[in-house]
């Protein structure tokens, strides 16, 4: 009797919940984002102003671009802890080239090339050296930070050309330049993951590396490439951060890797690899940015902000786990 009743209850509960469950599973992160926006708009009138929203987007762009690269890496069931340090090193090189009065494209090109190169190096160490991604990129985190300190001698590099600073502070029409760059990165990232061979291979490798290899995928080459993409996007973030600060700081980007990972996970990409999207990551990055901004407007102390941010990330992931 008791058993039967329990079974009936379970069946009914399932029926009732199923549609809601599906909606939550597919759009849960978007709904959470809208709820968060609505709450903040009510609690703090200045939040919903256009200037504040653009300000948020400008702030979010750096983490979002890092997180886009991180999404590629995590989709292959890897991790890249070195992005914050690679950002700092590429930013320093960019600034170093620019203050020696070389043209803009040379400075930016040098920074981007360095970022990509360090990323590819990560990939080679992981695939050829068979080092765990966590360890390999942890080593790169330390080395790139050290190299930055050596290069800058521990001092900021200042005196950047105005054209460069515009990339961080300027607007294109009424849209901040960093937001335009972020948009371009995410559109390309989305197209790569959904429309190209590279994207298909990224999901295949993360889903089942051995099965991918037996289907003819050159796993080592594509994994290396993915770390290269992450390094390149860290350098793209470096353009924006360096321009916004109007200087290359030797300690820039410390701890950024954790915010990037948080954005990816909030966006529904699993650390086990093979499932997720850059669209989700963009939302994840915005949730983190909106929480930061909202708590500032509400005059919550910076110390409590960290507690709240951590709790929100944990809550989101627990909810996601429950819904799956």
């Amino acid at each position: 009797m008791q058993f039967d009743r329990a079974a009936v209850h379970a069946a009914l509960g399932h029926l009732r919940l199923t549609p809601l469950r599906n909606v939550l599973r597919r759009f849960g992160i978007a709904i959470a984002f809208l709820l968060l926006m609505g709450t903040l708009a009510v609690l703090s009138p200045p939040f919903a102003t256009a200037s504040n929203l653009f300000n948020i987007a400008r702030q979010v762009s750096i983490n979002a671009i890092l997180a886009a690269g991180m999404t590629f890496v995590i989709l292959t069931a890897g991790i890249d802890l070195s992005v914050g340090s690679v950002l700092a090193y590429s930013g320093a090189i960019m600034a170093g080239v620019l203050v020696s009065n070389l043209p803009l494209f040379v400075g930016i090109g040098a920074g981007l090339a360095l970022g990509a190169l360090l990323g590819l190096l990560n990939g080679v160490i992981i695939t050829r050296g068979k080092v765990q991604p966590f360890i390999a990129t942890l080593a790169m985190l330390t080395m790139a930070r050290g190299a930055t300190l050596v290069y800058t001698d521990g001092r900021p590099i200042t005196g950047l050309p105005d054209a460069f600073v515009w990339l961080g502070e300027g607007d294109l029409g009424w849209i901040p330049v960093p937001v335009v760059i972020m948009g371009v990165v995410f559109v390309i990232g989305h197209l790569i993951l959904t429309q190209t061979v590279l994207g298909r291979y990224v999901y295949a490798i993360g889903g089942n590396e051995e099965a991918a290899r037996l289907s003819g995928v050159n796993v080592a080459a594509y994994k290396t490439l993915v770390y290269g993409i992450s390094g390149l996007l860290a350098a793209v973030s470096a353009i924006i951060l360096t321009a916004r600060l109007n200087s290359a700081q030797p300690t820039a980007g410390s701890g950024y890797e954790l915010d990037a990972i948080a954005a990816v996970v909030l966006g529904g990409t699993t650390l086990a690899g093979g499932e997720g999207s850059v669209g989700g990551t963009l939302l994840g990055a915005f949730i983190i940015g909106v929480i930061n901004n909202g708590l500032n407007l509400l005059n919550v102390s910076a110390f409590y902000q960290q507690v709240v941010k951590g709790a929100v990330i944990l809550l989101a992931v627990l909810l996601d786990r429950r819904l799956r």
């Binding site: 429309q195 061979v197 089942n208 289907s215 995928v217």
Partner: protein, 507 residues
């Protein structure tokens, strides 16, 4: 034969009228087994005969549907592996359940470490007891060594020490020699005889029938989930044993058609991977199905993986349509027109969280994207065609591979290789774990491919399909090809004899 320490007149273990079914399969029907104290009792039968299921019931892993188990003449319920061990029944698994990072002593006492007050592990006592146990077995292994540093044979012996440490009265060994050299096997047999002399009973499962005659006292045969016979080893010979195992089987219908074989498509000469397979040579012709039979561990699957470039080789040459080729990677094999349907479709054949479409086109996706972007329409057309051709039961091409039935998953794997227009298809256990209807469809598909001139190598442990579908049959044992039969001359008895290492005098 040797009943030295039976505590009473009743046999140590009696299993009677055991039934067990799993969804869709009656695994055991009215099976009986009787084991006396102090005997080595061999349990034999082909794949799927029900040996493992019976032992899992005895070990508390599965619960029987019907029947009774008497232990020392009294009814016994075994609800969990822990209970089995508490009663003195110990299983040494085919795959070792050991922790390579822990010491030998820690492995022996895993989960029942000797304790001191406050629950602290008594390391001294553990080491002393482990040393004594190992010494009893005549092993001079330092119990502090990490288990992972031992050879497979030594690990196997540690597992036996573990079984002894729980003062087992009955030890079940499931293919203990599969990974051992003949010298190590002899050592293992020495220990088994010691155990027997102490009155411990041993149930010995093996596919290597010659071992039955060198170590067992009695042998019980199972076939298709049913009890066939129990005999004293002295009263039976190898040929009789094989006949009992094979029995008169309902002849299954195979949709076999034979085509005039074309030129050789794949030729392998002297393929060697040290310690895995040795000097393997064979030829497959266009339109031919070549069966490769052999036991687990005979190296037959490994040969397929090596030809496909998935595993490295030490020596040997591979020719495709008469031209020598190098195959350093699966990508190279695919480019040359070789496909591999792996033995384990969930682990190696498919990417379960990707869609049917993504899985099917994965080997050819590059050709569908001439300008970086995948041509969606061409891809959809190919996939729709494959789904139609293979009668795949899918709700849509977007359905995730993990949500498909076993048979449909297997078709999806084959569909991958149809896209590449493979001229050689290596099929490893192509019908394992799929239902009868899907099996027949898989056979039809093989015939269709052969008709189109594809050379097929079918590696299988299923005797009926080897006999029913192959044009020619190779048998492997211990990494070598031990026999070749034409379709007409092959018999189950002859194949089984070659597969268990006894080369028949006349081939």
């Amino acid at each position: 034969m040797t009943t030295q320490t039976a505590s009473s007149d009743a046999p140590l273990l009696q299993m009677q009228g055991i039934d067990k079914s799993f969804p869709g399969v009656q695994a055991l029907h009215d099976v009986a087994l009787q084991v006396r104290g102090g005997e080595v009792h061999a349990l034999v039968g082909e794949n799927g005969a029900g040996k493992s299921t019976l032992m899992r019931i005895l070990g508390g892993v599965h619960q029987r549907d019907r029947g009774e188990i008497l232990w020392h003449g009294r009814p016994l319920e075994i609800r969990s592996p822990l209970e089995a061990r508490a009663h003195g029944i110990s299983i040494i698994h085919q795959e070792l359940n050991q922790v390579p990072g822990l010491s030998v002593a820690e492995n022996i006492f895993l989960g029942r470490e000797p304790r001191r007050a406050l629950g602290w592990v008594d390391w001294t006592q553990m080491r002393v007891r482990a040393t004594r146990l190992l010494a009893d077995l005549g092993l001079s292994i330092d119990p502090r060594r990490r288990l992972g540093t031992l050879t497979v044979a030594e690990q196997q012996l540690v597992e036996i020490a573990k079984a002894l440490s729980s003062e087992a009265e009955l030890v079940i060994m499931d293919e203990p020699t599969a990974a051992l050299t003949s010298e190590e096997t002899q050592r293992l047999f020495g220990f088994i005889r010691d155990l027997r002399a102490r009155g411990v009973a041993i149930i010995y499962i093996t596919h290597r029938l010659e071992e039955v005659f060198s170590i067992a006292d009695r042998v019980t045969v199972l076939r298709d989930g049913q009890y066939v016979s129990t005999s004293a080893v002295g009263d039976i010979n190898l040929d009789e044993l094989i006949r009992l195992m094979v029995g008169r089987r309902l002849t299954e219908k195979f949709p076999k058609e034979t085509f005039a074989p074309g030129k050789p498509v794949l030729e392998v000469r002297g393929l060697t991977r040290a310690g895995v397979f040795e000097d393997v040579s064979f030829v497959v012709h266009h339109g031919e199905i070549l069966g490769i039979a052999g036991l687990i561990g005979s190296g037959k699957t490994e040969v397929a993986h090596a030809v496909f470039g998935a595993d490295p080789i030490d020596r040997g040459e591979i020719y495709l349509d008469g031209r020598q080729v190098a195959i350093p990677s699966p990508a190279a094999a695919i480019a040359l027109g070789i496909g591999l349907v792996t033995e384990d479709r969930k682990r190696l054949g498919l990417i379960l969280q990707m869609s049917v479409r993504d899985n099917i086109t994965l080997p050819v996706i590059r050709t569908l994207a001439p300008a970086a972007f995948i041509r969606r329409r061409r891809e959809q057309a190919l996939v729709a065609q494959a789904i139609r051709d293979l009668h795949m039961a899918v709700t849509s091409p977007e359905q995730l591979a993990r949500n498909l039935s076993g048979g449909t998953q297997q078709k999806a794997v084959v569909a991958k290789w149809l896209q590449t227009h493979a001229r050689v298809l290596l099929l490893a256990e192509p019908t394992r774990g799929i239902d009868v209807g899907a099996k027949v469809e898989m056979y039809r598909l093989m015939v269709d491919l052969a008709r189109r001139g594809v050379g097929i190598v079918m590696i299988s442990s299923e005797m009926p399909e080897i006999l029913g579908m192959s044009d020619r049959i190779l048998v492997m044992h211990d990494g070598r090809i031990t026999a070749e039969f034409s379709r007409e001359r092959a018999t189950q008895e002859a194949i089984l004899a070659s597969a268990s290492g006894r080369t028949p005098s006349a081939v």
